[in-house]
Point group: C2
Chain length 129, copies 2
DNA sequence: GATACTGGTATCCTTTGGGATAGTAGTATC
DNA sequence: GATACTACTATCCCAAAGGATACCAGTATC
């Protein structure tokens, strides 16, 4: 007896044809370096220009300094961000995107637009009910 | 004495002008429903067509059934996915994207492409050193 | 009768993500 | 002299994420 549904069969076929596995692992590779609550917002905030620690903290809203430090270190390791120290007194520190981060601009743009639209949808749904 | 660097000042100005806060919260709103290791890969896999539970598990690689169930339930709640039960015996279950998921296609595409490029970069860096 | 497949549950456990709070040295400001 | 700002670090703690393993009924296959 044929238990398979044409639907699922079809999906498998299409998936194989489009190299679905490559797509899934592409996405997983991206998320591997960009996972968590803060990396995308952080890179987005810095995409407007270099910023100081406290300013970043303010633009992100409610991130604690410990977590911000950790996130910045990780982004440094992956060459998304540079830390600049200026010999003022007391020292001034800025964080700045490296060129590689710019390759993320489309992703960030799409994600931002989607998020804005999503919030609007939620609001109108709540009104609608 | 002026301790502010023009850099940081500039960033703040630009950020205010571009409504940086809106961008950051847009991204945070998006991540609120799409966070975690599996949501993006899962939606991407289903974007090829409806699939059965075990098939999804296989395409995602190493997700455990418990986690997959949880992720699918969450995506159902947020109207990204429908669960279809067919009265075969034993039952056949497929999961299918709802129209709202299609609004994510650009995000998924950009993320996938970035991930693939990122992996290639890592590979050539390793070779280069 | 043994094995395998489906669509899951149940239980346990570890890891991490991330928040709260406090504190630091060095300045500047009132 | 008290307070405030900067750029953090340190410590503690909790909840959630997610993995490992086992198991289930129902059916088909060998």
């Amino acid at each position: 007896m044929e238990k398979e549904l044409e639907l699922a069969d079809n999906a498998r076929a299409v998936c194989a044809k489009l190299n679905c596995a490559e797509g899934v692992s592409g996405i997983r590779d991206a998320l591997y370096v960009l996972s968590g609550k803060w990396k995308f917002p952080l890179i987005f905030a810095l995409s407007q220009g270099p910023m100081r620690f406290k300013d970043i903290q303010r633009s992100l809203g409610d991130i604690t300094p410990k977590v911000l430090t950790k996130e910045l270190r990780e982004l440094e390791l992956n060459e998304f961000v540079v830390r600049n120290v200026f010999p003022t007194s007391p020292v001034t520190v800025t964080y700045e995107l490296m060129p590689y981060s710019l390759t993320l601009d489309k992703v960030l743009l799409e994600l931002k637009d989607w998020g804005i639209q999503h919030r609007q949808r939620l609001v109108s749904n709540r009104r609608g009910n």
